[in-house]
């Protein structure tokens, strides 16, 4: 569906009545550069995107700080991963992978909030601290 919308845009931009020509509104400096090629060759750090809200049916949370998500494609699935929370979601599109990740984030947010500090050890201490200030209900 997404790719189709780019093809439609390309077709619409190409169409022009024969008696007209396109105006020259274009980027002229370094005109040899192809943005899509730059996007393909970006290192993973540059492909990080912010997540400002997460939701499950009936509940939506706003993130207190943006959650940095790395998207990648492997073995026919998209992955959405956050290194701080040590979580990832999967899906057949980036949007679905993020939705899946959001579900996991909400699960662990509620899980860690219910736990008493005396019940956590090791890295769970850090995670409990992170989750406590992670979301606010909309």
């Amino acid at each position: 569906m997404t790719f189709d919308s780019y093809q439609v845009r390309e077709e619409k931009q190409e169409y022009l009545p024969q008696s007209y020509k396109h105006s020259e509104v274009k980027i002229d400096t370094g005109k040899e550069i192809v943005a899509e090629e730059l996007l393909r060759s970006l290192p993973s750090q540059k492909l990080m995107l912010p997540l400002w809200s997460v939701g499950i049916p009936g509940k939506t949370f706003r993130t207190v700080k943006p959650i940095a998500v790395r998207i990648y494609f492997d073995e026919d699935l998209f992955f959405a991963e956050n290194d701080t929370l040590l979580l990832y979601g999967t899906g057949i599109s980036p949007e679905e992978a993020i939705k899946d990740l959001g579900g996991h984030i909400i699960h662990f947010y509620e899980y860690y909030r219910k736990l008493d500090r005396s019940q956590v050890a090791g890295d769970a201490i850090r995670l409990k601290r992170v989750y406590e200030n992670l979301l606010s209900e909309e």
């Binding site: 569906m1 997404t2 790719f3 919308s5 780019y6 439609v8 845009r9 931009q13 509104v25 274009k26 980027i27 002229d28 400096t29 370094g30 040899e32 550069i33 943005a35 899509e36 090629e37 730059l38 996007l39 393909r40 970006l42 540059k46 492909l47 990080m48 995107l49 912010p50 997540l51 400002w52 993130t63 700080k65 943006p66 959650i67 940095a68 998500v69 998207i71 990648y72 494609f73 998209f78 959405a80 956050n82 701080t84 929370l85 980036p94 949007e95 993020i98 992170v130 992670l134």
Partner: protein
């Protein structure tokens, strides 16, 4: 205007280019090796242009690139461009531009310029929300359209040229998809150009003006929530 640092830790900047154009100088074609000797140590990789049918070979730039591909030059009979893909801040970029432009101008005795251009290419990865591009989370893009138009976009392509005091800035805001279709992003592309009575001896003035205006436009265009992501205020 919001307070800003020179470089954001999550900066979307992927390439910055400064380019000068001048009346065609055949010496550049005939003695390409002379300038190459000056830059061989920093930019040893030579990339020859491919020419499309009906194209003009002399106008297609040769590329001289560093081995790590993080910076380089594009040189043709009527233009010289210096580009960087790992931006270390404006001060460093300007210093490099002035050095290379000066060297180039001396070797080929370039004085008069037809055009100067400073281009900042930003790529902002995003994920769709309910199938739509969440452009307003990143950029303050408002179109004053009648109510009948939904304010959310499935696809986006805007290019406009704005006149400034000393030149013109072309702004392109467009959704793009990687060739393998694995990532989508908003392309935020700025090209600040000057094109009247220019001289190579005033390049510093041109780059200063171009940078100052473009930086102001960028800072005014991004939303506060996106700015906090750029600053690295993230989980």
């Amino acid at each position: 205007m919001p307070e800003t640092k020179d470089i954001y830790s999550n900066s979307p900047l992927v390439e910055i280019v400064f380019e000068i154009r001048f009346p065609g100088e055949p010496r550049i074609e005939c003695s390409r090796d002379i300038f190459y000797e000056n830059i061989r140590r920093d930019f040893p990789d030579v990339l020859v242009p491919s020419i499309k049918a009906g194209g003009f070979p002399a106008l297609e730039p040769y590329r001289f690139e560093s081995t790590d591909k993080k910076s380089g030059m594009r040189i043709a009979i009527n233009k010289f461009a210096y580009y960087v893909r790992e931006y270390k801040g404006y001060a460093q970029f300007k210093k490099d531009v002035l050095k290379w432009v000066s060297d180039f101008g001396q070797v080929y005795r370039i004085r008069k310029l037809n055009r100067s251009g400073l281009r900042y290419i930003n790529i902002i990865p995003f994920s769709r929300e309910s199938g739509l591009i969440p452009v307003n989370r990143f950029l303050k893009v408002r179109m004053d359209l009648p109510e009948v138009f939904p304010k959310n976009f499935e696809n986006l392509s805007l290019v406009f040229i704005s006149k400034t005091g000393g030149g013109a800035i072309t702004t392109k805001i467009e959704s793009i998809i990687s060739i393998d279709q694995s990532h989508e992003a908003i392309l935020l592309d700025f090209d600040y150009a000057k094109d009247k009575d220019l001289s190579i001896s005033s390049v510093e003035e041109y780059i200063e003006e171009s940078h100052a205006h473009t930086k102001r436009v960028f800072e005014e265009l991004i939303t506060d929530e996106y700015r906090s992501f750029l600053k690295g205020e993230v989980v």
